[in-house]
């Protein structure tokens, strides 16, 4: 199941490379706009990278269940041996593997543009690795709710972004603390947030999908 979705993301019309290029382009554009002032750039780096990462994930999230709903695959998956909760969880994992993980992997390169010190870059990578699963998980709830909505991609951010603000706050906060050489416990909180999202989101997304199957 996960393997199929990864293959689909990589084939023509897949979203994996699209989200990654969007992320890299947005993050590279910022320094051009705000000017090259190293002491300023390193302080906005984490915030910009985190917001761009969340938006890049949203790009591919709106089609997470919609394609399967439209072509009838969702009916078949729902009748399969896996429960809808299991289907939702594997969709979340494959979305993270094709979006969150590559974003995390390229983030140290983009941090160079912001002259982020190595110690803070390590924290940035750790925060993305811990936090992007929450983006996929909470995004899946929104994707489940908007699976049958045309142009659902426009509504999805309205549902999902407020719920994702803790991830951005903890993620960027951890990097700022590292720049100031203090410890604020943001990373453990981010990990806890991610874990809770991964545990609860499959149930919420599956409940939303059942509504669409009954429509």
């Amino acid at each position: 199941m996960i393997r199929r979705d990864i293959v689909l993301a990589g084939r023509a019309g897949g979203n994996a490379t699209l989200a990654l290029s969007f992320f890299a382009a947005t993050v590279s554009l910022f320094p051009l706009g705000v000017g090259v002032n190293p002491s300023f750039l390193d302080r906005i780096a984490a915030g910009v990278i985190w917001v761009a990462a969340v938006l890049a994930c949203l790009l591919s999230l709106d089609r997470l269940f919609q394609v399967d709903y439209e072509d009838g695959s969702l009916d078949l998956l729902a009748l399969g041996p896996l429960s809808l909760e299991g289907v939702a969880l594997s969709k979340i994992l494959s979305h993270w593997l094709t979006t969150g993980l590559p974003l995390t992997a390229v983030s140290p390169l983009l941090a160079l543009l912001y002259q982020l010190p190595a110690s803070a870059t390590v924290v940035l990578v750790a925060s993305l690795a811990l936090g992007t699963p929450a983006v996929s998980a909470i995004g899946a709830i929104g994707a489940g709710l908007t699976a049958s909505v045309r142009r659902g991609g426009l509504i999805l951010p309205l549902i999902v972004l407020p719920l994702l603000s803790p991830a951005v706050i903890f993620g960027a906060g951890a990097v700022l603390a590292a720049l100031d050489h203090v410890s604020n416990g943001a990373l453990p909180l981010l990990a806890a947030f991610s874990l809770a999202a991964m545990l609860l989101a499959p149930f919420a997304a599956a409940a939303a999908l059942r509504l669409h199957l009954a429509a």
Partner: protein, 206 residues
């Protein structure tokens, strides 16, 4: 594949919004039988199939699947695990090839499958490594039939199984249905066209 005894629908009623699609619907079929559900557009054929698959909740009434061994199945989700589904949409991914499609569903359902032979049986042997987006509507329908067979579910629910199929394809679909029933399965098909085999009929929306 669990062996079926039969399927009983008692006093079924279904509403969509405030509109009652059908009410007081009673029918029984036994293992090895095919039921052809007929009726004009909008009579509720697809809705009945979605109800039987467990997607829709009936307003009233019960659906009971009797098994040869073990207690009868009344729960909708459990009934769904017995269903082989062929919807009016094929549920195929345009980016995958027919061989990849069958391999995925075989592994999803934990069934072993000779993909080449399964595709050859439905006349798709020559296109098994082309993306599904290159196939015609009839070829996609044949692929959906091949997938239906390899899932090895005892209760087949088919929505317009003959749509887009040519004469040979219709004959093939009829043979697959016949073979499934001969093996003790059950088939309920919503259709406008004769399936070309002996079956019981249920008229909706008369």
């Amino acid at each position: 594949m669990p062996e079926l005894g039969g399927l009983d629908c008692h006093n079924l009623a279904l509403a969509r919004g405030r509109h009652v699609v059908f009410r007081e619907l009673n029918f029984e079929i036994a293992a090895g039988e095919t039921l052809s559900v007929e009726g004009p557009n909008g009579a509720g054929k697809t809705s009945l199939l979605r109800l039987l698959a467990g997607f829709l909740e009936p307003l009233a009434g019960t659906v009971l699947v009797r098994l040869k061994a073990g207690p009868a199945v009344a729960d909708a989700e459990e009934r769904g695990r017995l269903v082989g589904w062929l919807g009016h949409q094929d549920g195929l991914k345009p980016q995958l090839t027919p061989a990849e499609t069958l391999r995925f569903f075989a592994s999803y359902h934990a069934k072993s499958c000779d993909v080449g032979a399964a595709l050859g049986d439905v006349g798709l042997g020559r296109v098994q490594d082309l993306p599904v987006s290159f196939l015609s509507a009839g070829q996609k329908r044949r692929l959906a039939l091949a997938r239906l067979r390899l899932m090895q579910r005892p209760l087949w629910l088919l929505d317009e199984p003959l749509s887009a199929l040519d004469a040979a394809g219709r004959k093939l679909a009829g043979e697959l249905i016949g073979a499934h029933c001969a093996g003790g399965g059950m088939v309920i098909a919503a259709t406008h066209e004769p399936l070309g085999l002996d079956c019981r009929r249920l008229a909706l929306g008369a």
